[in-house]
């Protein structure tokens, strides 16, 4: 890796995240073409869930935290050798998971379990900076690291938790992280969106809305960890869905939703609300596929937010001015179409699952990340346009 790639946290991780996202869907057609449903002793579902959450989304999260936290608090960013070390730890986990059928599970666990604690160690120094401390991100990251440990301990039989359940809790934690991150990002992007739309910026967000959205998501995450599929969890999921829709009001500002930096977050929140609502209704006894609903959370909310955050951060931290390039809309639109298929087909046309529910969404997903990398990888590989470090 050259020096520019290691100049700031977002650069390597935003290059790796799309690759991990693409890699994590490749074995999926195996199940649907009838070539078997296992990857080693893990079900393909658990393997795919783990890789999307702890591979793809975690890489995007690492890039975001390693860039945003230092820039909010003025802490020294992790760069150079330390950043290369973090990337290596992440990569070792991915390689181990790819070779999972060949390696003993304990070795895979040892290889995969180190990255998130290392990331935690790397970001903890921001808490020592004066001023408001982003402890909520650090706490969520610590919880995520713990859940990954539970995934592996469950797989090794040390604790009685199915790995799939740990993966769902991790996905729910990511919804909390998205809601938290939006609290920081939305004021900035809404302002820029209004200016771009030629309106006077008038962003005054009420903290109550976002706190309700985050609190209900935390309750939902805890409920799903403790009593998954219970009616109580169902009602909490519905409450969380309503709180997310309530929060979408934040984006109803003149002109803002015509710009991608605001509209795409709005879409992501919509997917999150839909996924929560479907999970809630399924827990309350409606015949809906919970796995499909979780794709509204992971593929819809998770990937749309990741793509948008990656685009905005890459733009701002390579010193480029808004507007975002057209390449922001395209991949996000493909991801939304993929989500719509993956969420709707299992419930509406289960017989078309292999093609319309898995293969086509997978191709759309791969195309989306290809398009994104085509525009953004040169930005990530070359120095800032203003010549400053970072």
């Amino acid at each position: 890796m050259n020096a520019t790639v290691l100049a700031y946290g977002f650069r390597p991780f935003f290059l790796l995240a799309p690759l991990a996202g693409a890699a994590a869907v490749l074995p999926l057609p195996m199940i649907w073409l009838g070539w078997g449903g296992m990857w080693g002793d893990l079900s393909i579902g658990a393997w795919h869930g783990h890789e999307q959450v702890f591979g793809f989304l975690s890489a995007a999260l690492a890039g975001f935290l390693l860039t945003a936290l230092p820039s909010w608090t003025g802490a020294t960013p992790v760069t150079g050798r330390n950043l290369a070390g973090l990337c290596l730890l992440w990569l070792v986990g991915r390689i181990a998971f790819w070779l999972d059928p060949l390696l003993p599970p304990a070795l895979v666990a040892a290889a995969d379990i180190l990255f998130l604690p290392a990331l935690l160690v790397a970001v903890v120094p921001v808490l020592r900076r004066p001023g408001p401390k982003p402890w909520e991100f650090v706490a969520a990251l610590a919880a995520l690291a713990a859940v990954n440990a539970v995934f592996h301990l469950g797989r090794l039989g040390v604790v009685e938790v199915a790995p799939e359940r740990a993966a769902t809790v991790a996905l729910n934690l990511f919804q909390v992280l998205i809601a938290l991150a939006l609290g920081r990002i939305l004021p900035v992007v809404l302002r820029s969106a209004q200016i771009e739309a030629g309106r006077a910026p008038q962003v005054r967000l009420m903290p109550g809305r976002r706190h309700l959205a985050v609190t209900t998501l935390v309750l939902f995450t805890v409920a799903e960890a403790v009593v998954p599929g219970h009616a109580v969890t169902g009602w909490i999921a519905l409450a969380a869905a309503c709180a997310q829709v309530d929060r979408m009001r934040e984006c109803h500002l003149a002109g803002a939703l015509r710009r991608p930096q605001a509209a795409l977050f709005y879409v992501a929140q919509g997917w999150m609300a839909l996924g929560l609502a479907l999970l809630g209704l399924s827990a309350l006894g409606m015949p809906l596929d919970p796995a499909a609903a979780r794709h509204a959370l992971g593929l819809g909310a998770g990937a749309t937010t990741a793509l948008t955050v990656m685009s905005v951060v890459s733009l701002r931290h390579t010193a480029r001015p808004f507007p975002l390039p057209a390449a922001t809309w395209g991949p996000a639109a493909l991801v939304s179409v993929a989500t719509a298929l993956r969420v709707a087909v299992p419930d509406l046309a289960p017989e078309a699952m292999a093609m319309a529910g898995v293969t086509i969404p997978m191709l759309l997903w791969l195309t989306a990340f290809g398009l994104w990398l085509r525009t953004f990888s040169p930005w990530l590989l070359r120095p800032r346009v203003d010549g400053c470090p970072g």
């Binding site: 008038q202 005054r204 809305r209 309503c242 009001r249």
Partner: protein, 274 residues
């Protein structure tokens, strides 16, 4: 055009606030479900069973007549209480003598528990809807009385003198000077009286057996049918929520327009309902 857009944006703001309210109520439902899981159907039926019972009652044709009857009792009492309380209150606000005469009586009436009025009303009127309406009148009229008296008494004398100096015509004086000020005191009193009148009506019906939601509750109690009892409670709660969010809150927001406009700027964006 701008006016229309402003109204539309405010209406959307209001309706969107319903999502936040729904989140809160759904969390309460989750708590209810947890109570059901812990204590069983006999103590606390599940929310879904309760809603199913409510729907069944609606299908049997028992729900709507009961709701209409309770609403009639409550509204009849409320209208009478508003007239009596409003007129007497205005008199008490305008005249010191009337205030000295009526205030202690209102205080006394407020102090008598509603349940005592129910017993008296049953003795006087027997087990009929009239007993419920009467109880509503005597318990809510003092509340309206206080609001009206406060409103009239605190009318700004300087404002009145200025209006007179500019020879403001009488109807305009009442409509643009007195009424807006009065309403800021009277409306909260009317709102709490209206909400209270439903609860009082249900209570009176429960004891009198004169039909309505209260009667249904009494029957469910006798039959030890917790599901049905809770379904009736849900019916009352539904009525109260509909009253609050479809009638009172929109009126409240309309009346408070001046407050919003006084702040200036993009107030519709920042003043959420909930």
């Amino acid at each position: 055009m701008n006016w229309v857009r402003d109204r539309a944006s405010r209406a959307l703001d209001y309706l969107w606030g319903g999502w936040g309210a729904a989140a809160s109520l759904l969390l309460l439902t989750a708590l209810w479900e947890a109570g059901h899981a812990a204590y069983g159907t006999l103590v606390l039926p599940s929310p879904r069973d309760t809603v199913a019972a409510l729907v069944r009652m609606g299908g049997d044709g028992r729900l709507l007549p009961a709701v209409v009857e309770t609403t009639g009792n409550a509204l009849g009492g409320f209208v009478a209480a508003s007239l009596v309380g409003g007129v007497l209150g205005a008199m008490a606000g305008a005249s010191d003598m009337m205030r000295r005469l009526l205030q202690p009586i209102a205080t006394l009436m407020l102090g008598i528990p509603a349940i005592a009025w129910v017993v008296l009303a049953l003795l006087w009127f027997g087990g009929s809807g009239l007993a419920a309406s009467f109880t509503v009148v005597v318990t809510t009229a003092p509340i309206v009385f206080s609001g009206a008296a406060q409103g009239v008494r605190t009318l700004d004398g300087d404002l009145r003198r200025m209006a007179r100096a500019f020879r403001v015509p009488g109807p305009m004086l009442v409509w643009d000077v007195y009424l807006p000020h009065m309403l800021s005191y009277l409306f909260p009193a009317l709102a709490s009286a209206l909400a209270l009148s439903w609860k009082i009506a249900v209570m009176a019906e429960l004891l009198s057996g004169a039909g309505g939601i209260g009667d249904g509750l009494a029957t469910a109690r006798v039959q030890l049918d917790t599901v049905k009892a809770l379904a009736w409670v849900l019916a009352v709660v539904g009525l109260l929520l509909a009253l609050e969010y479809l009638l009172l809150e929109p009126v409240r927001r309309h009346l408070q327009t001046w407050r919003r406009e006084a702040q200036g700027g993009d107030s519709a964006m920042t003043r959420g309902l909930l």
